[in-house]
């Protein structure tokens, strides 16, 4: 057992010498003063020269190990006890929503003694932390995996899509808790994999951790569950704060959403389109027309993804060797993030031609993020088209990457792959460009 969690080197030696464990109430003599408090674990990556105490008044302090004259153990550690509040009443007539976990915390509680944050994930725990959920839906939970979102790979998408296919047989809606960093990639992946699904699948996350009173998690979660339970539509969506206010939650199409800010609550924005819906105080306002309606369907998901696909951002001074190396190493597809309307330097032409000739799918998106590529306006664009580069319209570069992985993973015919790439399958290609850049 890690009874001296985080301590190493000098600090570990001193603590072991006095037979002290984390949680013990101790009296430390150092520099002619006495410090009384309980021993806390040391943070990962912190130095080995300090010992951390929690004083009676709740503050933590660090004492330098070399100044310690003696340590006296006053009492052993106490295990914190936690009594959950009573569960709210559940209505058996409410829709059933399945909540899938992928990692991170949807809800949590704090142990003020150690500062540890305990995740709350079981249905009971979620009801007790976010009691509003009890009037939205009957929920069940399943942790599909438990990883940071930056560690997500296409094989995780497959696993998650398959879990959804299974749940879709009994649930009225699915909510997926996801870390925000790569949430938009996963939502795009499931949009393609779960085409034709008859219920809503709603991704949700939080930009402020759940251990703080100001966390956005609860409102996002309540809105996501509300939408999954009652929205008259099917398909894959992302539900996150619409503004900095804790007032309305925007529901974005899974293929048209991007994390556009490192930290704000309203970091997620629909690009080249508007949010399809807003949830305000557990009420759903549908804004988009032509969303697929709910239906009964036995879904056969196509959930394979080809991992040998790259997203390459062009920049002044770009070395074509990058493209050549990708092709040499067996890449099956390359999505270029070009400049403006969809351009890269003429220096890259030879490398691109080689890639196309070797059967690699090469698509073009724009690093402008907003707007569409149009490769017939300038000669560079026209030349790239002639080399066989596929223009991808107003598709987000990240969505284009995921779509190419999906196309290559599930279809063998090269012509079909090209056609599918350019066809609008689940709203990823906007036929119209909206008048306003951002609708909020």
């Amino acid at each position: 057992m890690g009874e001296l969690t985080g301590y190493r080197g000098a600090s570990l030696k001193v603590l072991s010498q006095y037979e002290i464990s984390v949680g013990d109430l101790i009296l430390v003599k150092a520099k002619g003063t006495e410090f009384r408090g309980s021993l806390l674990p040391r943070y990962e990556h912190a130095d080995d020269r300090h010992v951390v105490l929690k004083l009676d008044n709740g503050y933590n302090i660090g004492i330098e190990v070399s100044s310690i004259e003696s340590i006296k153990k006053l009492a052993g550690g106490q295990k914190p006890s936690f009594v959950a509040p009573p569960l709210p009443k559940l209505d058996p007539k409410l829709p059933k929503v399945s909540i899938l976990g992928t990692g991170g915390t949807i809800a949590s509680r704090i142990d003020y003694k150690t500062g540890a944050v305990h995740p709350a994930f079981s249905a009971e725990e979620l009801y007790s932390v976010i009691p509003e959920l009890a009037r939205c839906a009957q929920i069940e939970t399943e942790a599909v995996f438990n990883i940071y979102s930056e560690n997500m790979t296409p094989s995780h998408w497959t696993k998650l899509a398959d879990a959804c296919t299974k749940k879709a047989r009994s649930a009225d809606g699915i909510v997926i808790g996801h870390g925000t960093d790569t949430m938009a990639y996963t939502s795009a992946a499931l949009s393609f994999a779960l085409q034709g699904i008859g219920i809503p699948v709603v991704f949700v996350g939080s930009q402020r951790s759940t251990d703080r009173p100001s966390s956005d998690a609860a409102i996002n979660m309540v809105s996501a569950v509300t939408f999954a339970a009652r929205a008259p539509v099917a398909g894959v969506y992302v539900a996150m704060h619409a503004k900095t206010d804790d007032a309305s939650v925007a529901v974005h199409l899974g293929t048209k959403v991007r994390k556009n800010h490192t930290s704000r609550r309203d970091a997620f924005e629909s690009v080249n389109t508007s949010p399809v819906s807003y949830v305000i105080d557990e009420k759903i306002e549908i804004k988009a027309r032509n969303l697929p309606p709910r239906k009964h369907s036995i879904l056969e998901s196509r959930s394979k993804f080809e991992e040998k696909v790259a997203l390459v951002k062009f920049y002044p001074g770009f070395d074509k060797l990058l493209i050549e190396t990708l092709v040499k190493n067996g890449s099956k597809g390359i999505v270029l993030e070009g400049t403006g309307l969809g351009h890269v330097s003429t220096n890259c032409y030879v490398a691109i031609k080689k890639a196309v000739d070797d059967g690699v799918l090469v698509g073009m998106t724009s690093q402008c993020i907003w707007g569409r590529v149009r490769m017939t306006v300038y000669s560079t664009g026209r030349e790239l088209l002639n080399l066989g580069v596929i223009p991808l319209g107003g598709m987000l570069p990240e969505t284009a990457l995921v779509k190419m992985m999906w196309v290559l993973g599930n279809f063998a015919n090269a012509e079909e792959q090209k056609k599918l790439l350019q066809n609008n399958l689940v709203g990823e290609i906007n036929e119209r460009s909206p008048l306003e850049r951002r609708s909020k």
Binding site: N57, I110, R212, S214
Partner: protein, 632 residues
Amino acid sequence: MMSIDPTKINLKVGLEIHQQVASSTKLFCSCSNFESKEFPSEFVRKLRPTQSELGQIDPAALFEFQKARTIRYKANNESACLVETDEEPPHDVSSDALEIALTISTLLKSKILDEVHVMRKIVIDGSNTTGFQRTMIVALGGELSAGSLKVGVQGISLEEDAARLLGEVEGIREYGLDRLCVPLVEVALAPISSSPKDVQEVALALGRLMRSTKRVARGLGTIRQDVNVSIMGGKVVEVKGVQKLDLIGKVVEFEAQRQLALVKISEELQKRGVKEADFDVEPLDLTEMLASSKSTVINKALASNGCVYGVKLKGFGGLLGYEPHEGIRLGRELADLVRFYGLGGLFHSDELPAYGITEGEVSAVKKHLQINNNDAFILLSGPRSNVSVAMNALIERAKYALAGVPAETRGPTPDGKTRFIRPRPGSARMYPETDIPPIVITKETLARIQNSLPQSWEAQIDYYAKKYQLSTKLAVQVYDSDYADLFEEITSATRIQPSFTAATLTETIVGIAREGFDISRISNEQIKEIFIKVEKAEFAKESLQPILESLAKGEVSSVSDAVSKLSIKGISSEELGRIISKILEDNSALIKQKGEGAFSALMGTVMAQARGRADGQLISKTLRDKLKEALR
């Protein structure tokens, strides 16, 4: 006012002083420290207690949370960024602010910690956008000398100030984010058993020590004192946010008297044989009984679908209206408590019949609640949910009257009394601020602080007095005042005697404030403008006071308006000569009769015409010369 013998009643007073630091930036971001007048952007948030709060249900905390469920924040891009709006993780702790805290710690001989850990202290009343206040202990122990008194220091922390409460609009609290995240140094002193006057001296000494660093903010609201008062081993009452130093003594005095009064009431209750079990009472619904009452309070409650409840307090007859000390009654304490729960107040049997409640209604209530001679009852009216929570809290509080003084948080009134704010919160809920790694205080930092310690306050006063040729008394007055910086500015901008400037900034302005006028209406820029105009002889020194008064009264809003309103216009020495000659001519009989003895009478006549328009000394000299000439 009777004085208190602190040892006889075992008076213990603990001071916690919160001083804003004049650092170059806020504590966790690069915004500057200043108050915004306008807030172009606003947003609403909801704070939610984390699971641990819900796990242990504290009804008061829960109620306060529900009250503040939606909060509106107002921000100005000049004084707040995404850190204040809780949309961005905190930046590193301002090294400037940390060094100021370490300097103050060193001056207080406190032991600086090897490694400082930033903590989150849960606060869910909305005053912090995060739902917690970031705070860190930087030093422990130490000692403050205040004259002959030596007071122990418990600890020194560096923390962020809370957002500024702007008010409440339709039940939604509004906060300005300009003050959020401004660094504060908090010094917690060990409890002392001294007279209220000594406590005030201690606070003054600590304030001076902090100001001696010249790196703390000045002005109203930049320093706040929390005063913890207990007597005879009773519970500690915390009086939060005493802004003015000269209120501390009064607050301590009042609290001691209030607590003594509560002890007196408790003794009487015990004498009457009231027991804890007497408080297991069921409040009764009197809504129907009082449905046709003429009381406007009750009518208002019933009109909006509310209710009236009554509760019997056994053995409390006469004690709710009893006033053991001026202004201190148990009935009032209970009324303040129910206001916390959103009710306007209460009715108690010692004050009824009155307020539209008739004799007959009182008898009916008494009968229904089975009130005997020695008993009292209380009526609460309002929305059902509030009445129910408030009733429970009220019974708990009444039960505490048996023991004496309950632990609670109170606030100061402008005249140095205290009023109930809320029940004392449970033990602080703190957990580490994991966004900021622990800060190791290096030997180099400590050496740098040791080498740049400021001179002692006394030495600074000596220097100041010598530099500006002020008496020690005047030097102390101006140095302690909020005008210390302004004084130096005026002194370097004009050739006016520093002692005159100092006296104006302290005695004259204090005098105007004592007369009850609002000196906050006078800006530092205006004061400077007045001095510069005196220097340019646009008017005489004597006009300074009437101009300041006129501004403080709000009669005018600018110096030039004051000048024209008071028809102050400087006169040349030639014109002064002409005025005096004319007066001498008119009074030739008097001059003949009294000779030089006519001077004082003539001076009065001259001043009536020239006051404020010419320098007093010049008037007197001209008159004397002209009088001599006339007598020759």
